[in-house]
């Protein structure tokens, strides 16, 4: 198979997964007892009113027709209106999503290079002091759930030391400094939860490569230590590293839900949590679809990148 064929195949698979996910999300809300008409009318439902609303919303159409309408609307960016207050979901999503993207991006920019650097540092001398410090700390961090880490951070930096705000709500008047101040703790919380996996995976991927005959050869031909790590070991460990990075960035999404709720940060995650408590089905559907698409796209990108990173696939015989 040529490279383009492999990439096409992977992309078709990714799109297939997305379609499957959309069916699940759609059916998930169908399976819930009562329909949207019930949810809208609540206590005041009479059979006539229900029928009226069903007619208006097209709920009497067969399942596949409603799915198709919902999906095409979703793809064209029409997410519908909130059941709770009738507001357009699209505008709210745009605002929330950009906040979440800022939070996730800051975390990724800090966490990924840090994790790879720490993983490499640990792999240089396995069993050495640096390695033991890094591995045991990362093991401890993996063992703590993200909300606990966040609570501990808040206790230390916001309550005891009073350096940073405990709440990360956003006001329109905020300038860059304010943004940085409110972002530090959520970003730290998220970084801690995803860092450990990436550090450990980088370490083991690099260690695995370091025991290969190719590295022994590089040592025996006189490649200096630093170059050995960066030029010989790291490129060969990139495949697994890319995958674990993507997996953890995808994991950021679920971390975002918890952290946003804890810090009261107005992002997509908290939007979804609020919608769940209000049984606001269209918002839950939209958020779920966005999160899932992000997850699938990220994994697909990781696969494509690790395929491209492998010269055996890039250059055929």
């Amino acid at each position: 198979m040529s490279l383009t064929e492999i990439l096409w195949k992977r992309m078709v698979l990714g799109i297939g997964t997305l379609i499957f996910v959309s069916v699940l999300v759609f059916l998930g809300t169908e399976i819930l007892p009562g329909d949207v008409a019930h949810a809208i009318l609540g206590q005041g439902a009479t059979p006539e009113l229900l029928e009226q609303i069903r007619e208006r919303l097209g709920l009497n159409e067969p399942l596949h027709v409603r799915y198709w309408v919902w999906l095409t609307n979703f793809i064209t960016g029409d997410f519908g209106t909130s059941l709770a207050n009738g507001a357009d979901i699209g505008t709210e999503i745009t605002r929330r999503a950009s906040n979440t993207i800022i939070l996730a991006l800051c975390t990724a920019i800090i966490a990924v290079p840090l994790a790879i650097a720490l993983g490499l540092a640990a792999a240089v001398k396995p069993g050495g002091l640096v390695d033991r410090a890094i591995t045991s700390t990362s093991l401890a961090l993996i063992s703590f759930p993200d909300f606990l880490v966040a609570v501990v951070l808040v206790t230390i930096f916001a309550i005891k030391l009073r350096w940073l705000p405990a709440i990360a709500s956003i006001r329109p008047s905020y300038d860059l400094v304010d943004w940085i101040r409110i972002l530090i703790l959520p970003v730290m919380g998220l970084t801690f939860t995803i860092l450990a996996h990436m550090v450990r995976m980088t370490r083991s991927a690099v260690l695995n490569v370091l025991t290969s005959p190719a590295i022994e050869m590089a040592i025996l031909k006189g490649v200096p230590r630093r170059r050995l790590l960066l030029r010989h070991a790291l490129p060969n460990a990139l495949g697994p590293i890319i995958n674990v990075v993507a997996l953890n960035l995808a994991y950021l999404i679920s971390g975002v839900v918890v952290i946003e709720t804890l810090f009261n940060f107005p992002g997509l995650g908290r939007y979804m949590v609020e919608a769940v408590t209000n049984r606001d089905v269209p918002i839950v559907q939209t958020c779920a679809m966005i999160f899932c698409s992000f997850y699938v796209l990220l994994n697909m990108t990781a696969d494509i990148l690790s395929i491209i990173a492998n010269p055996r696939v890039r250059y055929k015989k």
Binding site: A214, M217, K221, V223, N310
Partner: protein, 560 residues
């Protein structure tokens, strides 16, 4: 040992190894010596061979000369002087300079030792470029010259490829170019031709010999094959269990070995027998045990990548049929086809005149029982977490319906039959040596009481002396049980000793087959001749003649 005068610098050896000890620490923290008191000299321009079987410490010693030990090992005593420098006392950065410039290394498996993520040129020119010894252009020009000296095709462009894009024999030569680019004073070659096909081996060996001679480089040549080393080395150091057994000029070691171990190595060397005996003619009249008729088969969804073409092969009861060919010739595929691991596109396999179904799933248990398979890599084929008792009793219970109690008794008998103590039944495969594991591998095939065993390169991964013991065992079993073997190998010398009939395969076809004496006796098919021509002979002038002959034969084959 050479007696060098300490006062005369002109007589000073290039490399002086004295009392080298290397130890490993076992799980309980005890030190265990794997190299014990090794001393030898290498004169400028001289080639010294370290020869021994696996575990003899030959690679460890050669790495020790570079001040390197594998993880878990360390040098506990001795000195290594290169010129005036004690290699073992250098700091790591200084060592890395020495390794790049003064002493260079050619590894056993170039395929594994090249970095798959960099182009060949980038790796070959890496050291002179990063140390500033040459500009990139100079280094590339020098690399191209070396490629051309090593007779690589398209020397200007071959280096632009990635390692997986060139063949194994080419990679091994490219690695030699990498080692020679800095004009080292000492070159270490660690089994540089072992991973290659026999017919490629002599070309590569010839290139190395020429390179060493033209550059007047000193070299340490590490190998287990005495006949190969006779072609390149000036001195031979024979090793066993980390100790020196014998040390002397090549001529003396091969013509007049002193030590029993050296004699045993000589006896087990892969040489063609002086005379190939004609097999007894009686077998021809009997009905054949197994017939492969007109088989074409391939890989891929519709078997469109053809691996076997128009194969006809007959195996009689109690006979050994050798199937010989190089990697990619289809010999293993043929074995897989017979045992039902893959199906044929055309033709079929007949057992006692009855056509067998293509797939193992469709064959009856009794048909399966009669054809057993022994794999090349016993350490991979045996489950490391099952005791031998379980490994061996399973086929007995499955094929012969024995109870576990009966099977356990039978296992003890079987183990003794293949020359292992009965109490090995309670051991796990990793606790056994390579030769012992191969015996277990055979015992597992025997446990089914088969009539035919397909032996796929079962002696290829073993040391010569151990391999000989396995061959003897095969012969004993055949005499006693009337077994038939299909012996798949790339080693024409072995096959000529044990087979009644042989089939020579090339590019998925059988190019010659028949009684062993007829196929191997001249005049024979050009390809058979090429294989015969590639078997080293224990004389020092063999290589140059063989290379000339090889080129004629290859040209003839290409034109055919």
């Amino acid at each position: 040992m050479r007696d060098t005068s300490q006062n005369d610098p002109a007589d000073e050896p290039l490399l002086k190894v004295r009392g080298l000890d290397v130890s490993v620490r076992d799980k309980k923290g005890r030190e265990f010596k794997i190299v014990d008191g090794i001393s030898f000299d290498v004169q400028p321009g001289e080639v010294i061979a370290l020869i021994g079987e696996s575990g003899s410490g030959k690679t460890t010693i050669s790495l020790g000369c570079m001040g390197y030990t594998r993880p878990g090992c360390h040098i506990t005593a001795g000195s290594v002087h290169l010129g005036g420098t004690n290699v073992l006392e250098q700091s790591l950065p200084r060592l890395q300079e020495l390794r790049g410039k003064e002493i260079t290394y050619v590894a056993q498996s170039a395929a594994a030792s090249f970095n798959g993520a960099m182009t060949i040129d980038a790796q070959v020119t890496e050291i002179p470029v990063i140390t500033g010894a040459m500009s990139r252009e100079e280094a590339l020009a020098k690399a191209a010259r070396l490629y051309s000296d090593l007779e690589l095709p398209d020397p200007e462009n071959i280096g632009k490829r990635y390692p997986h894009q060139v063949s194994g024999g080419q990679l091994q030569r490219l690695m030699a170019a990498m080692a020679m680019i800095s004009d080292p004073r000492l070159l270490i070659l660690d089994e540089p031709t072992t991973a290659l096909d026999v017919t490629t081996q002599i070309e590569v060996l010839h290139s190395f010999k020429k390179l060493i001679r033209d550059n007047n480089t000193a070299a340490i040549y590490v190998t287990h094959d005495l006949s190969l080393v006779a072609q390149v080395a000036d001195h031979i150091l024979v090793l066993k269990d980390g100790q020196m057994v014998e040390y002397g000029p090549t001529e003396q070691i091969i013509s007049d070995p002193q030590h029993d171990y050296t004699k045993a190595l000589m006896a087990a060397a892969h040489l063609m027998p002086e005379e190939i005996h004609a097999p007894p003619a009686a077998t021809a009249d009997e009905a054949p045990l197994l017939q492969v008729r007109n088989v074409t088969a391939g890989y891929g969804p519709a078997q469109e990548i053809i691996a076997l073409r128009d194969i006809d092969l007959t195996i009689h009861a109690g006979e050994t049929v050798g199937v010989i060919g190089e990697s990619g010739s289809g010999k293993t595929t043929l074995g897989r086809l017979i045992s039902g691991l893959m199906g044929a596109k055309q033709g079929g396999v007949f057992l006692d005149g009855q056509q067998l179904k293509h797939s193992v799933n469709q064959r009856s248990r009794d048909e399966l029982r009669q054809i057993q398979f022994a794999f090349q890599m016993a350490d991979v084929a045996l489950n490391p977490r099952q005791r031998l008792n379980k490994i061996l009793s399973r086929p007995m219970m499955f094929y012969r319906g024995l109870s576990q109690r009966e099977a356990t008794k039978e296992v003890a008998r079987l183990l003794e039959r293949v020359g292992l103590p009965a109490d090995f039944a309670w051991r796990f495969p990793p606790e056994l040596s390579g030769g012992q594991r191969q015996r277990v591998n055979l015992a597992r095939a025997l446990a089914a009481q088969p009539r035919l065993i397909i032996c796929d390169e079962i002696t290829s991964a073993l040391d010569t002396i151990v391999a000989q013991q396995i061959l003897d065992l095969l012969e004993d079993l055949q005499d006693e049980l009337g077994l038939s073997y299909m012996f798949i190998t790339h080693d024409i010398a072995t096959v000529s000793k044990i087979s009644e009939r042989i089939a020579v395969m090339r590019h998925g076809r059988i190019v010659a087959q028949g009684p062993v004496d007829q196929v191997l006796q001249p005049p024979c098919h050009e390809y058979t001749q090429l294989l015969l021509n590639s078997v080293p002979e224990m004389r020092t002038d063999w290589l140059d003649e063989a290379v000339v002959e090889r080129r004629k034969l290859v040209a003839a084959l290409d034109n055919a």
